[in-house]
Amino acid sequence: MGILLGLPIVILLTIFQSVVVSNIPLLHGTADVVLLVLAALALQERISTIYEWAVMAGILMGLVSAVPWFIPVLGYVGVVAFARFLRRQVWQTPVLAMLLTTLAGSLGMLFMQMLALQAQEVPISIVESLNLVILPAVFLNLVLALPIYALTVDVSRSVVSEEVEI
């Protein structure tokens, strides 16, 4: 799958995130479907342009959200890099890799957002952020990680054949 196919998918995911997922909070945290899909795709090695997808998703999120634009870009690229790294280390247990990527990626992304907003002098308390936003959001991401991984594997299997190294 190339970059051209990635763009509409990333746009649809961003719209879904903004319209649906952001309206279903747990306390004040919400899941990040874009992060989960990128992590799931990165763990499968089926899409060679996954880094480009991550950059596109980051730029789109940066444009849509009031968070500084480079935070989603760095966050999503970091998630993909971490997923690829785990794919090589624990390739026999992709579910574990998915959960680890989700945990680390969500924490990294949310802490980066919090620090960026604090740098912009937005009065956000770290304890409050941790209790009311970060932990609920990470929990939601972990709950959704496995269903999204399974769905992504099924869809990508039916669309893209796996690349085999000779």
């Binding site: 952001s22 959200s65 009031a66 957002q113």
Partner: protein, 282 residues
């Protein structure tokens, strides 16, 4: 001759027997015998008729069942269509009620010009309280324009594209609104928070406030027009050791269910940044 007599007697005997039977039947003497003889007949006929009717129903019922099933399917389809029509009409009614309330609000402020917009999304970041609306610079919207509903103040436009805009809600942790308490001289700064809670900061200790007091925009700072309803005082936090007291505000707008908003397009926010002191370069 003998043959004639024999036939005569035979005919006569038969005639007598028939006449006797007729006589007995007319007299009702044969009824028990008739009943006894007819019982097996009737029973046989009833048995046969029952079986025939069962067979007839068996043969004819599938057609009736098919017709009934078709009728049920048609009715179910019509029921589903009517249900969806009811839901659509309810949605239209809600929309009309909201629009009517917004029109009333617009009529109550004849000096302002408004552009109505629908809410089409929320900021993906859980730290921020922003919404997206479906009107942009093509409709005359600019950065900084205040956004309201019939209930009260919503926020102000933070970013605009041609056909959409991002609105910072007053509940956002980065938002600050200059407000005043209705029917008093008390003025303060309303701040949002991570939890969407609204608080009045910098309230002097001597300011007399009570729960239920109405909070309006003061117009100071040039970011919002004056006298737009913000909410009501829900609780007060006073400590003798601090210079200021704080008040918790119950917003007039329910930000979770907000669907349609009005943007005040003839309000130009004042940019005070040139007046702010710049820190001297060492």
């Amino acid at each position: 001759m003998t043959g004639f007599l024999e036939r005569f007697w035979r005919t006569g005997v038969i005639f007598l027997i028939v006449a006797g039977l007729l006589f007995l039947a007319l007299g009702g003497y044969l009824n028990p015998m008739v009943r006894l003889a007819s019982a097996p007949w009737i029973a046989t006929q009833r048995w046969l008729m029952t079986r025939y009717l069962a067979f007839y129903e068996l043969v004819s019922s599938p057609q009736e069942m098919a017709a009934l099933r078709q009728q049920v399917a048609l009715l179910e389809e019509e029921n589903a269509r009517l249900r969806s029509q009811v839901i659509e009409l309810q949605q239209e009614l809600r929309k009309a009620q909201t629009t009517s309330a917004l029109l009333d609000f617009a009529r109550s402020r004849p000096g302002d010009r408004f552009v109505g917009a629908s809410v089409i999304g929320r900021d993906p970041s859980p730290f921020l309280q922003y919404i997206f609306i479906d009107k942009g610079s093509d409709d005359g919207l600019r950065r900084g324009m205040p956004v309201v509903t019939a209930e009260g103040l919503v926020g102000r436009i933070d970013a605009v594209i041609a056909n959409g805009a991002r609105v910072q809600l007053i509940t956002d942790p980065g938002a600050a609104v200059n407000v005043k308490i209705a029917n008093s001289e008390v003025e303060a700064i309303l701040s949002g928070s991570l939890t969407g809670e609204l608080t009045l900061e910098m309230l002097p200790q001597e300011a007399s406030l009570k729960v239920g007091d109405v909070v309006l925009t003061s117009g100071l700072g040039g970011n919002y027009p004056e006298n737009i309803l913000v909410g009501q005082v829900a609780a007060l936090r006073q400590q003798e050791t601090t210079l200021f007291q704080t008040a918790l505000i119950q917003p007039a707008v329910d930000f979770r269910t907000i669907r349609i908003v009005l943007v005040i397009t003839n309000f130009a926010p004042v940019d005070l940044s040139p007046l702010q002191p710049v820190s001297p370069v060492p």
